[in-house]
Homo-oligomer: 153 residues x 2
Amino acid sequence: MPALDADACRRLVAAAPVGRLATLRRDGTPRLVPITYVLVDGVVCSVVDEVKPKTSTRLARLGDVARDPRAALLVDRYAADWAQLWWVRIDGRAAVHEAGGLRDRALDALCAKYPPYAAARPDGVVLVLEPTAWKGWTAATGAPLAGGPVTGT
Amino acid sequence: MPALDADACRRLVAAAPVGRLATLRRDGTPRLVPITYVLVDGVVCSVVDEVKPKTSTRLARLGDVARDPRAALLVDRYAADWAQLWWVRIDGRAAVHEAGGLRDRALDALCAKYPPYAAARPDGVVLVLEPTAWKGWTAATGAPLAGGPVTGT
């Protein structure tokens, strides 16, 4: 598959509604979870709501990145027509922002991108993935890639 | 989000067309890639075609699991209506099957599930993920979950 250039990667990731985040558990195994996110200032931001003691699945990824910041995000398009496939992988380092300007901008951007967030603004901590490497591939050749439709599995 | 029982997890994973696989690179970082797959005999099977020397991205995951078999697959549904979200995570151990009955059954099942494979039967090695843990969540309450539509990102 042909590689996607950096601009195409950023455009596709910015437009897509969902990505799959991998963090590393204490034992080094990959922990996968789907996330909504925004690209702000070149970093990937997602909000982790409902962080109460023992809210296990959401807290887990925060514990992971506190122990080991290495993480990755995959954004891709699946289609029955395999000529329309593409994927973008971001490897990077993650950190938790409990407050601050980047968190505020991320929450604003999340509300602008996702109507459910606009209807009920989230107030959790923001997980920030700072990319160290972008890599993208597409099955398409020639015509510019469409970002959508981007719903579904 | 409510947990999904084992039957629901298997049903949703069997029906979905795409999942995201995480393997572990030599340095322990998670390597993410989207895959097509089938469930055969309770294990997740995907085919790795075009394994020629230095075909980097496909060979990479095979090298990963040869060094460290720990891997995971995430299958999920995204929808603009967040009440329709679900995800299923399989953690397990991966192995490469270059031949044998399981590989043959996997290739048959891949051809039955995916028309492009039926049109051009793959002949590569099969990556087999043997689950050690299934975990699933859904935002839906009450009514049975629909598996589709399952195209798109």
